[in-house]
C-alpha cells in the first residue's frame, strides 16, 4: 500500500482536488439558486406542491443518464467537467429548494406576524428573521446535499471525469484493489469532514437551537 501511495500520490492528490471542486462548487451554486426558488414556493403557496413534485422528479433522474444527456443539451464535450458540475447543481437545487421552502414554512407564524407588526418590510424580514430562524432546517438539507454530491462525483468517472472515482475505474481495469481502497477511504473521509464542517458551522451560526425545548 505504501509503495502505491508513494508512487501515485500526485495522481491521488489531483483526483482528490478535482473531487472536492466537482462536489462543492455545485453545492454553492445550487444553494444560491435554491434560495429564491424555495422562497417562491412559500411566497406563493400554490407553487409549493408543484415545486416539491418537480424537485422529486429531478432528483430521481439517474446520475449517469444526466451526465450523458447534458452534453446534448448544453453542447459541451462529453468529457467536460462542466457536465458534472451542472448535473450536481441540478441535484443540489432539487434537494435544497424544497429544504428552503420547508425551512421557511417551519418558521412560527406568530414570529412572522410580530416581525411584520414591528415594521419589517418583506425583504428585510426574510433576511433578518425568516431565513435565520429557518437555518437549522436549511443547514440539515445542506448536509444531505453535500454528502450526496461527494458520493455522486465518483459516478462521473464512468464518463471520464470523476475525481476519486477515477481511482475506482483504474483499479477495476487493472484488477488492482489499492486505488479502490484509497478512493473509498478518501471519499468517505471527505464526506465526513464536510459534514462535520457544516455541523460546526451550524453550531456557530445558530447558538440558540441548543436551548430549544422539543419542537419549535
Amino acid at each position: 500500500m505504501s509503495t502505491y501511495l508513494s508512487n501515485n500520490w500526485e495522481t491521488i492528490l489531483t483526483a482528490l482536488r478535482q473531487h472536492i471542486w466537482l462536489a462543492l462548487v455545485p453545492v454553492v451554486i445550487g444553494f444560491v439558486v435554491a434560495l429564491p426558488i424555495g422562497y417562491l414556493g412559500v411566497r406563493f403557496p400554490w407553487l409549493y406542491h408543484p415545486l416539491v413534485n418537480t424537485c422529486g422528479v429531478l432528483y430521481s433522474i439517474p446520475s449517469l443518464a444526466l451526465f450523458v444527456f447534458l452534453p446534448v443539451v448544453l453542447g459541451t464535450k462529453i468529457l467536460s467537467p462542466l457536465n458534472i458540475v451542472v448535473a450536481l447543481t441540478i441535484y443540489t437545487v432539487a434537494l435544497l429548494a424544497r429544504t428552503v421552502a420547508d425551512g421557511l414554512r417551519s418558521v412560527d407564524a406568530l414570529v412572522v406576524q410580530s416581525a411584520t407588526a414591528m415594521g419589517y418590510r418583506r425583504l428585510r424580514r426574510l433576511i433578518d428573521v425568516e431565513l435565520p430562524v429557518a437555518l437549522p432546517v436549511i443547514l440539515a438539507g445542506l448536509r444531505v446535499a453535500t454528502v450526496s454530491n461527494i458520493s455522486l462525483v465518483s459516478v462521473g468517472a464512468l464518463i471520464g471525469v470523476g475525481g476519486l472515482g477515477q481511482l475506482f475505474t483504474r483499479g477495476f481495469q487493472l484488477f488492482y484493489t489499492q486505488p479502490i481502497i484509497v478512493g473509498i477511504v478518501l471519499s468517505v473521509a471527505l464526506a465526513g469532514i464536510c459534514d462535520l464542517a457544516i455541523v460546526g458551522l451550524q453550531r456557530l451560526v445558530t447558538p440558540w437551537t441548543r436551548y430549544q425545548r422539543g419542537a419549535a
Binding site: L110, V111, Q113, S114, A117, M118, G119, V129, W208, A216
Partner: protein
C-alpha cells in the same frame, strides 16, 4: 386618540368581521376590546396598524387616516404585543428588545443600551439580557414582549391577548405590573381579550362587541357593570356584576360605628381578635373597595368588618346590616 369612523371589514367569501364600527379610544388610556370569538375584536385591533385594511370607513390616529401612511413606518411607531409574545427565537432577549430602535436606524450599541433599561422596567434583571427566548418561562417571555413593544417609546400600543397564554398566578402578577407601568407611561393602549374580568380590571374603557362585529356597548368598567345596555351585555359581564361593581367604589362614604369592648386591641391599638376568641379575619382602610368590605363583613364570624387607619389602628366597625343599608342607598343614588 384613535378613531374608528364607520369601519366595515368584510372578508373575501362574504363574512362580515366588523360591522359599521364607530368609536374613539382616548389618548393615554387603556381601551379593551372584548367579546365572544368571531366578534371582530382582533380584526379591529389589526386595522389600527394596517395589518388588516378596512373594506370601508376610516381608522385615524390623532386625526390622521392610517390608510394614507406607509405601512412599515406606521407600524414602527406602534408597539405590538401578542399572545405567546412572538419573540424572535434566534435573537437574545436584549436584541429582541432592540429590534424596533434598530429598524428606526439607531446604532446597535444605542439600541442595546436602551433595551437594557427597558428590561429593568418590566421587571427582568440584566442577567436575562444574553439569554434566548427558549430559556425563559412564559411569563418572562411575555415581559420581554412588552419591553420590545415599548422599546421605541411609541405613543400607541396594541396588545392582542397579551396575558392569555400564562397560568393564572403569573397572569395576576403581569396584570399588576401592567397597571403599574401604564400608570407611569400613560400610553394609548388598545387591547384585545376574551376575558371580561381582565377587561374590567385593566381597561379604562371597555368595548364589548357581539358576533358579526357589531358594537354592543362602550363605557367604563363601572358603567358596564351598573348599566348594561341590554341582555347580551348583562349576560356577558356576568351574573355577579353587582358584586363586581363594588370593586370600583371605595369605603370612603361608608359610615362606621365606634369601637366596642368586644374587639380586643394590642398596645398600639391594632385589632387582635374578638373577645369571644374569634379571629377578626382582616381589616380595611377608607381607600379599600366596597367589595373588600362586603367580603370582610360576610366572612367575619360576628358579621362585623373592622376599619383601620393608615398605621393599622382600629378606628371603626361596620356591621353587615349597616353595609346593606349603605349599598341600598348607593343603588338608589345611581
Amino acid at each position: 386618540m384613535i378613531t374608528f369612523d364607520d369601519v366595515v371589514k368584510v372578508y373575501p367569501g362574504g363574512s362580515t368581521a366588523v360591522d359599521h364600527l364607530s368609536l374613539e379610544l382616548p389618548t393615554g388610556k387603556t381601551t379593551v376590546f372584548v367579546g365572544p370569538s368571531g366578534c371582530g375584536k382582533t380584526t379591529s385591533l389589526r386595522m389600527i396598524n394596517r395589518m388588516i385594511n378596512p373594506t370601508s370607513g376610516r381608522v385615524l390616529i390623532d386625526g390622521k387616516d392610517v390608510a394614507g401612511q406607509d405601512e412599515a413606518l406606521l407600524r414602527r411607531k406602534i408597539g405590538y404585543v401578542i399572545q405567546h409574545a412572538g419573540l424572535f427565537p434566534h435573537r437574545t432577549v436584549l436584541d429582541n428588545v432592540a429590534t424596533v430602535p434598530m429598524l428606526l436606524g439607531k446604532s446597535r450599541k444605542q439600541a442595546r443600551t436602551a433595551a437594557l433599561g427597558l428590561l429593568e422596567r418590566v421587571g427582568l434583571s440584566a442577567e436575562f439580557a444574553s439569554r434566548y427566548p427558549a430559556q425563559l418561562s412564559g411569563g418572562q417571555q411575555q415581559r420581554v414582549g412588552v419591553a420590545r413593544a415599548l422599546a421605541a417609546d411609541p405613543p400607541v400600543m396594541l396588545m392582542d391577548e397579551p396575558f392569555s397564554a400564562v397560568d393564572p398566578v403569573v397572569r395576576e402578577g403581569l396584570h399588576r405590573e401592567f397597571l403599574r407601568l401604564q400608570k407611569d407611561l400613560g400610553k394609548t393602549i388598545a387591547m384585545v381579550t376574551h376575558d371580561i374580568d381582565e377587561a374590567i380590571k385593566l381597561g379604562d374603557v371597555v368595548v364589548i362587541l357581539r358576533q358579526g362585529g357589531k358594537l354592543a356597548q362602550i363605557g367604563t368598567p363601572q358603567e358596564l357593570l351598573d348599566h348594561p345596555a341590554d341582555e347580551f351585555v348583562a349576560e356577558f359581564v356576568g351574573r355577579d356584576r353587582g358584586l363586581r361593581s363594588l370593586s370600583f367604589d371605595t369605603a370612603a362614604g361608608l359610615p362606621v360605628r365606634p369601637l366596642t369592648e368586644d374587639l380586643v386591641l394590642d398596645d398600639a391599638g391594632r385589632p387582635i381578635r374578638w373577645s369571644s376568641g374569634e379571629p377578626t379575619g382582616g381589616s380595611f382602610t377608607v381607600g379599600d373597595s366596597l367589595r373588600l368590605v362586603t367580603d370582610l363583613a360576610i366572612t367575619s364570624p360576628v358579621g362585623i368588618a373592622v376599619r383601620v387607619d393608615a398605621d393599622g389602628r382600629a378606628d371603626g366597625l361596620v356591621p353587615h346590616h349597616d353595609l346593606v343599608d349603605h349599598l341600598a342607598e348607593r343603588r338608589a343614588a345611581k
